[in-house]
Symmetry: C2
Subunit: 357 residues, 2 copies
């Protein structure tokens, strides 16, 4: 894809996502560059605040690489935030410790939606592309780099509610009562995200992932219209780009276990699964059309090394034999985890998946 980059030294993730044989199961961890690491907290303290950390490519690169120094991880993931796009749209993002994100100018009406414009990935969002370029260079082909974005529905929940929500009553009122406005907002977001991910591919990302964190809050019919269809449009747009079309795409709807068969039909390469889903059952549902990524309960990382190893074994056995498994947690790692326990997990995945089950 880019002749100036060295070949990948570790291609386990790429092979597993393409459902090819691997020597052992690849593993990475959602939010692996995060607050549970003291070196992350030190860099963040230097940055001053979270948004500055995201917006300074050298610092974003530094924290992206930190977990790779400690653990035998099979992928790096761009350090960033799903809210970079609405931030670039000028909604006035602030992130206060312990409060969650807030937008000072939420999107509530048709006029609000009409006033939105597509951010330029190499303009307002250039800092993300610069981070991708720098990380890709600094990785020297050690492991692949995953780029990512939030799903249209997930971004819409924050943009409409103006903050985190428990019952999503404002954004749900938009889809139930003003569905044409909701559809316009989601179409705009699909376009913005497709441009953003395409630009990440051009900047050097080797895998792309869509985080549909709040898709599971929707009804089964609304999920299709307001989350899955907009994600399918993104996948279609990525497949139309000569560079992006070569990258494996992972789609993760948290709480979407009932819909895996449907999600597997939108043209992505892999599905994320949370811990409520049996991987064995998931394989049956997706009929090996896609690879599966997951799905250890992050709470297991509070337990003893012995328990972590046995829980890793359970996930590997639940997936069973054959290609197409990427080990991960079922959701992001939580801030209080002991990094030593992450080492136990990563090493256990490699060791136990080498042994025939």
């Amino acid at each position: 894809m880019n002749a100036s980059h060295p070949d990948l030294k570790n291609d386990r993730l790429m092979r597993a996502l393409r459902r090819q044989d691997v020597d052992c199961t690849p593993v990475w961890i959602m939010r692996q560059a995060g607050r549970y690491l003291p070196e992350y907290r030190a860099t963040r303290a230097r940055a001053g605040d979270f948004l500055t950390l995201c917006k300074t490519p050298e610092l974003a690169c530094e924290v992206t690489l930190q977990p790779l120094e400690r653990f035998d991880l099979d992928a790096a993931i761009l350090f960033s935030d799903i809210l970079t796009i609405p931030d670039a749209m000028g909604l006035g993002l602030s992130l206060k410790e312990g409060e969650g994100p807030r937008f000072s100018r939420p999107v509530r009406t048709a006029a609000d939606v009409d006033a939105l414009t597509l951010p330029d990935p190499e303009g307002e969002l250039r800092y993300v592309m610069d981070a991708v370029r720098l990380i890709r260079q600094e990785l020297h082909g050690r492991v692949p780099l995953i780029g990512f974005a939030g799903s249209p529905w997930t971004l819409a929940t924050y943009m409409v509610e103006g903050q985190s929500s428990r019952d999503f009553s404002i954004v749900k009122n938009l889809i139930y009562q003003d569905s044409s406005v909701a559809r316009r907002l989601l179409a705009l977001l699909s376009n913005a995200i497709a441009l953003y991910l395409t630009a990440q591919a051009h900047a050097g990302a080797q895998v792309l992932m869509l985080f549909d964190t709040w898709g599971g809050a929707l009804g089964h019919a609304e999920y299709r219209h307001f989350s899955l269809d907009p994600m399918a449009q993104i996948v279609d747009a990525l497949r139309a780009d000569a560079v992006a079309r070569e990258l494996p795409i992972i789609v993760f709807t948290k709480g979407g276990g009932q819909w895996l068969s449907r999600i597997s039909e939108i043209g992505c390469d892999a599905l994320g699964c949370d811990w409520t889903t049996s991987l064995r059952e998931a394989r049956r549902l997706v009929q090996d059309r896609v690879a599966l990524q997951g799905n250890l309960d992050p709470a297991v990382l509070n337990a003893s090394p012995e328990k972590i190893r046995s829980a890793v074994r359970d996930v590997l056995e639940d997936y069973g034999t054959g290609p197409g498994h990427v080990f991960n947690l079922g959701h992001g790692i939580t801030p209080g985890i002991d990094p030593e326990n992450v080492k136990v997990l990563v090493d256990a995945v490699h060791e136990l998946s080498r042994t025939p089950i």
Copy 2:
């Protein structure tokens, strides 16, 4: 069951739960006696606080009956709280507006579990049984009375965490790291809940429901061991009592859509479904072994009457023809809803289910 009570004038709910034909689909609403009703807020203001309202049978009866005066509902549900049992165990429950429940003496260790004793349903919990007796009498056979309890796992989450939780890290650490302690706690809760529901049946409840509000936070394997098995023990205990065995039992695991087939095998009569589950798909999964209750997204009640009616129609059509459907929301009604919209919903269920779909 009790010769002193008049015959039921409206037996739609009983018939639907037994999968018998009905003239139209019965409907009731989780938390139908609640803050969205001005008359409820007035009674609660007289009581002073929520716990006093629960613990005063005359007031609990009053608020239980309030929604029946406004709406053509097919059931009454005991006004109470799932935390009456841990409260009776002496854990120091307090409920502050906007804060959620708190226990001043959470259960964390083996010694904490050993110190717990079974509450006497006609002792510490007599106020609940008195409320059941009074409500049943005041209903004069108008509609059936539903009694209920929280599931063992759901009660355990509050008792161990000491408050509401987002990631359940403390109680999950108990099941992952000290599973024998967790099992003892859950066994004790199964016994306590079985005694409590049996006593509600003897006091006059005509249907029993288990609210497993937080079962969906568990992994697929942990759900079986730590939530479903303890609920199965309760169902078995109820079937062993000459009075309770006659009552239909509804089990509702919020977020349990992937596990409906398993849940349908524990001997209950009906499953609650939240809005993420297609009732058509759910019927296929449970193969008509049980009735289904649900599953409109409560957020629809913020929409216009026209939208509410069309959403009701969608749920009825999703269930399809044949017996065994009890209409409800997929979770409790939220405080800000206009009561007029509830009337639209209830009337739409009856009217639209009379018309052949």
